[in-house]
Every structure is written in C-alpha cells, then in structure tokens.
C-alpha cells in the first residue's frame, strides 16, 4: 500500500460531537485540493460522522483505523 503523505493532523482526541467534524471542516478549508488530512478522535460517533461528512462534501475518506481508544481517519480534499 502506498504511503500517504499527511499535510496536516487534527487532534480531536477528548473532544465530543460535533467538534471532531467542526475541526476537520475548518482544517480542510485551508488545505489545497488533493492534500491529505489526518484526524484523531475518541468520539465513537465520529466513525459514522466522518463517513457521512465525506459523502456530503465530496472529500474522500482514504483510510480508517482504530486501536482500543483512538479512531484515526485520513481524508483527501477533493
């Protein structure tokens, strides 16, 4: 699997809904098209929320993983 170069990381660990998505949307606004953003979150709702947000906004969810406590997402700006 090719390694994705992360342009920016949003650390939303410890933040409750909807802040992971709000911080993600704020950060994506400032990135150029094609740039990859990494999001770290602990809000369990973020699994469905990030997927829904990407679907609605046209940005691509390219990676998703989790360990015991942290969800990690990589989003490529359209």
């Amino acid at each position: 699997m090719p390694v994705i170069e992360i342009t920016q990381t949003v650390d939303a660990r410890g933040l409750s809904c909807p802040m992971p998505i709000v911080k993600t949307a704020q950060a994506v606004k400032t990135l150029p098209s094609g740039a990859a953003l990494e999001l770290l979150a602990t809000d369990a709702g973020s699994i469905k929320d990030v997927a829904a947000w990407c679907k609605a906004t046209g940005n691509e969810l390219v990676e998703q993983s989790s360990d015991a406590t942290v969800y990690r997402f990589v989003i490529r700006k359209k």
Binding site: M19, V22, A25, T57
Partner: protein, 137 residues
C-alpha cells in the same frame, strides 16, 4: 444541502441551547446554512452580561442529569456559546432576535451578545427559512 436549517430557540436552559449549538455546528460543517430565531428565554440567555453564566437545565434533567452535564463540561466540552461561535466561523449561520421577545424582555440590540446578528419579526424569519425545515427547541 442548499435549503437552510431553521431553528427557533425558545428555551433558555444550557442543555437545550447546547443541543441547538451542536445541530448548528453539524449543519455548518456540511455547508448547510442555518437560521436561528431567538424567542423568550433563549433570547434572555443571549444577553451580553448573561451569556457566560449558568442557565440551569430542563426540569427533566434532575440531579443525575446535572451531574452528567457537569462531567461532560469537566471533560472539556465547549460551552454552547463557544460552539456557536465556531459554527459561525465555519459556515453560514445567522442569529436573529425575535422583535416581540425584545419588547417582552425590554431589550435593546446593544444589550445582546455580538453572536446575535440582528432583530427581525416572524415574517422575515419565514421568508429566510424558505423550504427548509423549522425546528423548535
């Protein structure tokens, strides 16, 4: 996503205002415009000198609800006014005071927190609401 979400805020307790702020921020993150119309006790909570104060919780919260809300705040949940500020930075969020409620509470525009964009009547609210949903909280 083009039709706005229209929230009529009536209740002035922190739990209902927090719920409204979360709905607003979520819509703003999706690029959906949000119109907020402040009536009665919700408008009272947006007074500049009161916005940062404790506005209590809905009666159904009880003492267990109070403890749960306090736990979330201690864990770092932003107060509702801060969530609304972030939503306004992110998207198209317009907050208007109901002119009738302004009269009821004997308020002037200068009494309100800068989060409030203006004062309007219910007709202007409906006009801006367009075909979007209207939610009463």
């Amino acid at each position: 996503m083009d039709e706005p979400l229209n929230l009529v805020l009536f209740s002035g307790t922190d739990d209902k205002l927090q719920a409204a702020a979360v709905l607003t921020a979520g819509a703003a993150a999706l690029g959906k415009p949000v119109n907020i119309f402040l009536q009665y006790w919700a408008l009272d909570a947006f007074r500049a000198e009161k916005i940062g104060q404790d506005h209590g919780l809905a009666p159904e919260a009880g003492s267990a609800g109070r403890a749960a809300v306090d736990d979330l705040a201690a864990a770092g949940q932003a107060p509702w006014a801060e969530t609304l500020r972030q939503a306004k930075d992110l998207g198209e969020v317009d907050i208007q005071a109901c002119s009738l409620s302004m009269d009821l509470l004997k308020l002037e525009s200068t009494d309100l927190d800068p989060l409030v964009d203006g004062v309007e009547g219910v007709t202007a609210f409906y006009l801006n609401a367009g075909e979007g949903q209207v939610v009463f909280i």
